[in-house]
Symmetry: C2
Subunit: 325 residues, 2 copies
């Protein structure tokens, strides 16, 4: 368990990503020395602008699949936050190798780098998608053994399994976080961005996948990071698994309302229909967060507040839309 | 669902293995055309002696990681039985890449070959090891979400996850079997062979890992194949998961007694001590088999009868010991 980050040495994979860059900033503020590791395939340099001006930050450009380079970057590190991933849940079926390589094999590469450099602590960004179509909702960490419905979920499940086995076999310790979708500043992919993009192209009309009743739970990025740091400070098992989400969920149609209201638009909303937005989409990811709440964590923003912050940030940072076009 | 194998075309990966060769023989007897695919890294040519004299059998030497070769072998096949694997649970920590490559990535390779050739049905040999240290014993298929304790278990969990996601995403159908340890003729690795080897070297003494109280459940290989074929004939979900094992378990010390009694030896048995035989060993794998029993399957041999058949076969086939030395 780590409660005081002052002078701690950490490595963050995916440091230039949405969550990774916020985490990097937070750890630097807390006095840690941070090695940011990113291949910039989806990471965004601007997100590290503030970190790069900090004397305790070092950026290493590299791919997590390059285990040797990664091991070199890991020397004398107390903890690794492995956040680099292919986070494109929706298009997994178009390139099935991507999830295997960038999530499963990449995590193996991180574990091997840790083993060879004797780094013992790992935090890992997993996903609520690994519950597949959960039979228990809200879904607790010890839900019935799930069937996978997406290659993304399967690849993260595989990563979790290897992490647990490495902890057992090589005396490491891990904190595995199963996230709902995360919202907030630096948000760069997902439905809020899709909606905003479509509304910029045609403010009078919004085409939405599914029937609008898909329910999802979202969490604000700073609350997500609070949750991670809380668990790392207070949970001391060999393998610590925590859901991270809000205690409620909203329908896609609610998001549409919040977003269009913020933008002061009144488009005709055209739902494609069907329970799922796409094959492998979960109509409902709503996680039971009692385990992390029992440690004293609680989210500070509601889903609607997070949505508003996200869309407000996108409006102020339209350059992100161009990057993703 | 397939109930009649007559004229069916099937491909068996790991066809020269312990279970694969018996399955091949059974499918040939049932009138199927069988393509046996094996790289002979651990497969044994002698096990296919009878199959190779059968006109409906074709052997292809190849590695499952060679997805193109595998796809070539899969043309016009109705069903794939993916049994090829690294089955060395115990030494996983000495070569962590092996489970990832030979179990996880290899299964991906099988799935990709099926996708490109439009083969829609897959049976997969998984393992009770994926339940880790189960909190519910006997352990049902929908046990609480487990933590992995071995790289072997983790690699099979990863394979199961990808299979389920491929079924969901590409309209395939699968039957996933979580085995206990399998015993019977052509048994080539595991504790019975280890004990026999040690007793041949020194009949007066037997060193046993753990404290002898590790409880395990075993299943006779023909009962295992009966179970697989029963489920494939009667379970028609997209993803069908079945435990396969006997309804009871025995202690390692019981196995020692059965084996030494059969060999008419009375060695001093020297237990190393400790709850586990090795790191990641499960002190108890005992599966709840009500799901497969509800389909009408039941094992014909007890654990002790299976043990006796195994040791009897080893005594008659000591050439196998030399292969494994």
């Amino acid at each position: 368990m780590i409660t005081d980050w002052n002078q701690r040495r950490v490595l963050v994979t995916g440091a230039a990503g949405f969550i990774g860059s916020h985490l990097t900033d937070r750890l630097l503020s807390a006095g840690a020395h941070v090695v940011g590791y990113d291949n910039f395939s989806t990471g965004i340099r601007e997100f590290l602008a503030s970190a790069r001006s900090h004397p305790a930050f070092r950026l290493i450009e590299g791919d997590v699949l390059d285990s040797e380079r990664l091991a070199g970057a890991m020397q004398a590190v107390d903890m690794v936050f492995h956040l680099a991933a292919n986070a494109d849940v929706r298009h997994g079926l178009e390139h099935p190798r991507q999830d295997l390589e960038q999530n499963t094999i990449a995590t193996f590469s991180v574990l091997e780098a840790m083993r060879t450099t004797a780094v013992k602590n790992l935090a890992f960004a997993s996903t609520g998608s690994i519950y597949g179509e959960a039979t228990v909702v809200p879904t607790p960490e010890d839900a019935p053994f799930p069937l996978q419905t997406s290659l993304y979920g399967a690849s993260k499940l595989a990563a979790e399994g290897m992490i647990a086995a490495y902890c057992e076999g090589y005396g490491m310790r891990s904190w595995i976080f199963r996230f709902v979708s995360i919202l907030g500043e630096r948000y760069t992919h997902g439905h809020v961005l899709d909606f905003y993009n479509k509304l910029l192209a045609d403010p009078s009309r919004l085409h939405v996948l599914g029937d609008g009743h898909q329910r999802k739970s979202y969490l604000y990025v700073q609350d997500c990071i609070d949750g991670m740091l809380c668990a790392i400070g207070r949970a001391g098992d060999r393998v610590n698994v925590f859901n991270l989400g809000t205690d409620h969920c909203c329908e896609v149609s609610d998001s549409v309302r919040s977003i269009t209201a913020y933008l002061r638009l009144a488009p005709v909303v055209d739902y494609a229909g069907g329970e799922r937005g796409w094959i492998g989409d979960n109509p409902l990811i709503w996680l039971d967060t009692r385990r992390i709440r029992a440690l004293g964590w609680t989210p500070t923003l509601t889903i609607e507040q997070s949505l508003i912050r996200t869309i407000a940030w996108l409006v102020e940072n339209r350059w992100v839309l161009a990057l993703r076009a």
